[in-house]
């Protein structure tokens, strides 16, 4: 009995870490990549819905990428002194928020997985993305290009990697068995990233 108890403490068989590292074509880490792990066999329910916030500060969306479980809602407060007209015509969710400041509209719901691209009809430099996922585990890679899910139950997972600047010919996906022990997975891009949006120009430059 003592031996069994010790095994139970030292090696829990119900979950294990899953770590995903994303490297650019030149082998350097890619920070900010969205990684999701969706259980395919056995299938599982998506992560619980959340209430997200996509802020608008200083003529930019903050954050630039937001990852939410399917059926979540997102509030779009405009804390800038300038009015914005937020729109998306992505197939995953198209909507528009007529010209506003402050927080006049109820949150927008996102009920279909996919990438939602948002812009402002007044300020074309404003661009952001909401990644709506039906996965159980998701997040963004850090400065070392790594994302870690500490406790993943044993299952077959479909891993997906996405980044706004990705230039790959095909979707970055892989199916792995995870949850039985630490599972390290590495993705390496085959193409260079698209150029990042320019930043730091004075606002007076945009007429």
């Amino acid at each position: 009995m003592a031996l069994l108890a010790a095994l139970a403490i030292c090696a829990p068989v119900f979950a294990a870490p899953l770590s995903v590292t994303v490297l650019k074509r030149d082998g350097t880490p890619l920070a900010g990549a969205v990684v999701s792990a969706e259980a395919e066999s056995p299938a599982a329910a998506p992560a619980p819905a959340v209430q997200g916030i996509m802020d608008q500060v200083n003529l930019a969306f903050v954050p630039d990428v937001l990852v939410i479980p399917v059926h979540s809602t997102v509030q779009f407060p405009n804390n800038a002194p300038t009015s914005h007209q937020v729109y998306s015509f992505s197939s995953a969710r198209s909507f528009q928020l007529p010209l506003y400041r402050g927080k006049p509209y109820p949150p927008v719901s996102f009920d279909q997985p996919g990438i939602v691209t948002m812009g402002c009809n007044i300020h074309d430099n404003m661009l952001s993305y909401i990644v709506v996922t039906s996965a159980q585990f998701f997040g963004r890679t850090g400065q070392k290009g790594e994302w870690l899910a500490p406790e993943v139950p044993p299952a077959r997972y479909r891993l997906r990697v996405w980044h706004p600047l990705l230039n790959e010919p095909q979707d970055l996906e892989r199916v792995v068995e995870a949850g039985a022990g630490r599972t390290p997975v590495q993705f390496r891009l085959t193409k260079a990233l698209k150029p990042a949006p320019l930043s730091g120009r004075p606002h007076s430059w945009d007429y």
Binding site: P81, S83, Q96, N121, L127, G200, P202, Y207
Partner: protein, 407 residues
């Protein structure tokens, strides 16, 4: 005056559409200059000098006082007004450079349209991209942009149709533009009178600009008039690669009837047609390369056909270091009368500009510019008794303070 009244009515109608549902954004800016110049007597003062501030206008000068208002009207309409003070001796102490109503519906399925009605700049200058149609790279814009600010304004209606590829997973955006306008029949007058010039002064909608004449009484021209009752048009296209490169082309034809004279303003309907192309590339390392070219002609028929052909090219390289910007630009320009480069009213020339500017935050901008224009203008000999060849230089310091807010 009847024509002027019509133009004013168009502007007023465009701006007074409906009660404002949203508060307006306003901006005020004061731009003062310190100038050292050896320029010949300026084209603004009945001379053949290429600069706004000549040797008689050194020291502290007013660059510009600018007031701008953006007023949303409902959800998809807005009104934009730009008013400026340039010189103390202008016809109107304060006057409009642009005033228009914009209809900007929401994009649908990656497509967007936009309509402007009123008075505004055609989409030509990738250089004058900053507020108030100013260039952020130097104090004085290129010969091409200087001329647009001097003689070209759309007083009419413009439609734009845009494919927003970057919002649908692509790397490109494409835009088509077409406009129908009036009140730009005198366009070409200044090119024939003093050729290209280098200045940031934008002719106001109801103001005048100098033209060298034997009789100074005829020297001031009003540029935004309808003379022949024939509408002009332009069509243009723009392609953008992400936010890194913009290529723009425009064909402009004011369809002026060059035989029609307007004695009230001592001018003709100048038949002015040109093509303009511009390319701007910006890199991750904060370099900018900007190339512009203009090629066209302007014609009047007072008794026989008189044709001026004109062209100009410009190349600018700039590097931004945070809030600091260094820029260098080369321009060449040419106006040929009746195909004869030695004719009195022909000219050739080139110019170099070097500029440093500092802009941090939304209030202050400081800029220092050296500009040298070398031009060969035979008219200087015949009209002014000066040598035809002139090298004019200036060093100019600009301090601009801007305030903005909302009503």
């Amino acid at each position: 005056m009847g024509l002027l009244t019509n133009k004013a009515a168009l502007l007023t109608g465009a701006l007074a559409l409906s009660a404002a549902a949203h508060s307006a954004d306003w901006e005020l800016a004061l731009d003062l200059r310190a100038v050292s110049s050896d320029g010949r007597e300026s084209f603004l003062d009945n001379g053949q000098g290429k600069l706004r501030f000549d040797a008689d206008h050194e020291g502290i000068q007013l660059g510009r006082v600018r007031a701008a208002l953006d007023q949303p009207l409902g959800e998809v309409f807005s009104a934009h007004v730009e008013a400026s003070v340039w010189d103390a001796d202008d016809k109107n102490p304060i006057d409009l450079t642009e005033a228009y109503l914009e209809y900007r519906p929401y994009p649908r399925a990656g497509l967007r349209s936009r309509v402007r009605l009123g008075a505004f700049y055609p989409p030509m200058s990738l250089e004058n991209r900053a507020r108030g149609w100013e260039t952020p790279y130097t104090i004085t814009p290129s010969a091409i942009s200087s001329w647009i600010g001097e003689e070209i304004r759309t007083v009419g209606i413009e439609g734009q149709f845009e494919w927003l590829g970057t919002r649908t997973g692509h790397d490109f955006d494409l835009q088509l533009t077409a406009a129908v306008y009036g009140w730009n029949d005198p366009a070409g007058t200044m090119l024939s009178a003093h050729g290209f010039a280098f200045h940031d002064r934008q002719t106001t909608l109801f103001g005048r600009v100098g033209a060298p004449q034997d009789n100074p009484e005829f020297a001031k021209k009003e540029l935004f008039h309808e003379i022949d009752d024939r509408a002009g048009y332009y069509v243009g296209a723009q392609a953008r690669y992400l936010d890194r490169a913009v290529l723009q082309v425009l064909h402009y034809d004011n369809r002026g009837d060059p035989r029609v004279e307007a004695p009230a303003i001592r001018d003709f309907a100048w038949y002015t047609e040109f093509d303009a192309v511009a390319l701007r590339i910006e890199t991750s390392s904060d370099w900018t390369v900007l190339l512009q070219a203009l090629d066209g002609h302007t014609i009047i028929v007072p008794f026989t056909w008189l044709t001026w052909e004109f062209d100009s090219q410009s190349a600018l390289v700039a590097r931004r270091f945070g809030a600091h910007l260094l820029a260098a630009r080369y321009d060449r320009f040419e106006v040929g009368f009746q195909g004869d480069p030695d004719a009195a009213v022909s000219e050739t020339g080139h110019a170099w500009a070097l500029a440093y500017s500092y802009e941090n935050g939304d209030h202050w901008r400081f800029a220092l510019e050296w500009l040298r224009v070398r031009s060969d203008v035979p008219a200087r000999v015949e009209m002014l008794g000066e040598p035809s060849l002139a090298t004019e230089s200036k060093i100019e310091l600009s301090a601009r303070y801007a305030l903005s807010g909302r009503f």
